[in-house]
């Protein structure tokens, strides 16, 4: 009996250890920021409030992107740099692979605006950055106030989710899928599952827009 238990224990232990090793190997290919939330906070005064229309007009580029590896941070300017890839460009021209700038770093982040991680899929309004040493740098105009998360329902249909409701309140589309429980529960569960820190945040997710509605809006402008 003792031998059997020892064998079971050894097998479970080896499986757990090997699982850990696989996980470590996977994480080695992905460079994450040193932390998601800075050691101190930032309370920022922003420029003029953007609406969907004004952000679209002012942005050099509007694109659906995927955040890649963390590159570096500037703790004096509270800035983080990431590799990023364009999945779909709605306005302007931008290299497929570019450097994404985000306000915040390991020293300080804004409340409810954690640092990105590889795999985050976003709709962003971008302007080309200047005086940056990394290749093809772009910063998000409007910071977190203009961000939309990209998510999917079970059939794979794409949706754009407003975590904060700041941009969404200016979007004049009658169909807000947050009120359609079968859609919103699927879409929001994907958002939560895609990033471990999301469930720690106090997002209200007041707006969920379908891809068709957002694309129509972008193309009509």
């Amino acid at each position: 009996m003792k031998k059997i238990l020892c064998m079971i224990f050894a097998t479970v232990f080896l499986l757990l250890v090997s699982g850990c090793v696989i996980s470590t190997n996977e994480s080695e290919s992905v460079v994450l920021p040193p932390c998601r939330i800075g050691t101190s906070g930032i309370q920022a005064t922003f420029g003029d409030k953007y609406t969907f229309e004004s952000a679209l007009a002012e942005a050099d580029v509007v694109a659906r992107i995927e955040v890649g590896n963390w590159i570096a941070e500037d703790t004096n300017l509270y800035k983080t740099y990431y590799e990023a890839r364009v999945l779909q460009c709605f306005k302007g021209e931008i290299p497929e692979n570019f450097t994404l700038l985000q306000e915040g770093c390991s020293v300080g982040t804004m409340k409810n605006y954690p640092l990105f991680i590889s795999g985050n899929e976003l709709l962003v309004f971008l302007n080309e950055a200047t005086e940056i040493e990394y290749e093809s740098p772009y910063w998000i105009i409007g910071s977190f106030t203009t961000l939309l998360d990209v998510s999917y329902d079970e059939s794979g249909a794409r949706y754009y989710v407003d975590r904060y409701g700041i941009l969404g309140e200016s979007i004049n589309i009658p169909s807000n899928y947050v009120h359609e429980e079968n859609v919103s529960s699927e879409v929001l569960s994907v958002v939560v599952a895609s990033d471990p820190i999301v469930s720690e945040m106090q997002y209200s997710y007041p707006y969920i827009f379908s891809e068709a509605d957002i694309v129509t809006l972008l193309e009509n402008k």
Partner: protein
């Protein structure tokens, strides 16, 4: 004996499993906003809310000044800190006169340090940052940085000093008339009465609240819930309760009739 061994083995396996499952992330912040302040009742409301927007001021009990005085010094190493930038700080500080006394410590001993940065690749005009607090939530050090890529003003600095007092940003359009509106396009040029009430609450000057009740939300059966709030500072508590109706169908606590939804908390109505 066998049972003892099995028990040990199971405990050991579980311990190893738990060790391997430990999250790689450390969550440094937690919400410390308790007591008198607005909460986000988004489950009941069909709208957009951030805590504090409904009241017109938002405080953070974990980050605020100790008492009604505040000291700052200019960053001596900042060669870009011209007399113009310094004058914005001085004028911004004077706007809080009567509510909080903000003093420039020219010997460099101020709790806060104020300086500038230059960053054209950001939406941030100015920032309150790099702060630390003691166990009581009192600020022991903090920084305000003005971004030289944007125009600065005494109003912007008064806003940033509002953070050092303990006030949070407000982002809802209905608060565009408050000093703590988080965008430069706001209309306030100094602390409004609402900003001052927030400052009085966080500094402890206003602690004797005069409680009343007002409408909060409506249940699926049509009956209302009310919330306890201070009739002076307008701060909400987290005490939300179902209305209790008399024979005339009027709530005996808040006085709002059954079926009436006054939306008196100032909801976003879009």
């Amino acid at each position: 004996m066998k049972r003892k061994f099995m028990f040990k083995a199971v405990v050991y396996i579980l311990a190893v499993f738990l060790m391997l499952q430990t999250s790689p992330y450390a969550f440094a912040h937690s919400s410390s906003q308790e007591g008198i302040l607005a909460k986000s009742y988004m489950a009941e409301y069909e709208g957009y809310y951030i805590g504090g927007e409904d009241v017109g001021w938002s405080i953070d009990e974990g980050i605020h000044t100790n008492g009604t005085t505040l000291t700052y010094s200019f960053l001596s190493s900042d060669s870009y800190l011209t007399s113009e930038y310094r004058s914005y700080v001085t004028s911004g500080a004077s706007k809080w006169s009567g509510t909080v006394t903000i003093t420039n410590k020219t010997d460099g001993s101020g709790t806060g340090k104020i300086g500038t940065v230059y960053d054209p690749n950001t939406y941030i005009v100015a920032a309150f940052c790099n702060f630390s607090t003691n166990s009581s939530g009192h600020l022991t050090s903090w920084q305000i940085l003005m971004n030289r890529a944007y125009d600065q003003s005494a109003t912007i600095l008064a806003h940033e000093l509002g953070h050092a007092i303990g006030l949070n940003d407000l982002y809802a359009s209905k608060n565009s008339g408050k000093l703590m509106y988080g965008y430069t396009g706001g209309t306030a040029t100094g602390p409004t009465s609402s900003d001052k009430w927030g400052a009085k609450v966080i500094t402890g000057v206003h602690s004797s609240h005069s409680w009343g009740y007002k409408y909060d939300s409506t249940t699926s059966t049509g009956s209302n819930r009310h919330v306890k709030y201070c009739t002076s500072c307008n701060g909400l508590t987290n005490t939300v309760a179902s209305c209790t109706y008399n024979s005339s169908n009027i709530c005996t606590v808040c006085g709002i009739p059954f079926g009436v939804q006054p939306w008196s908390i100032g909801h976003e109505t879009e």
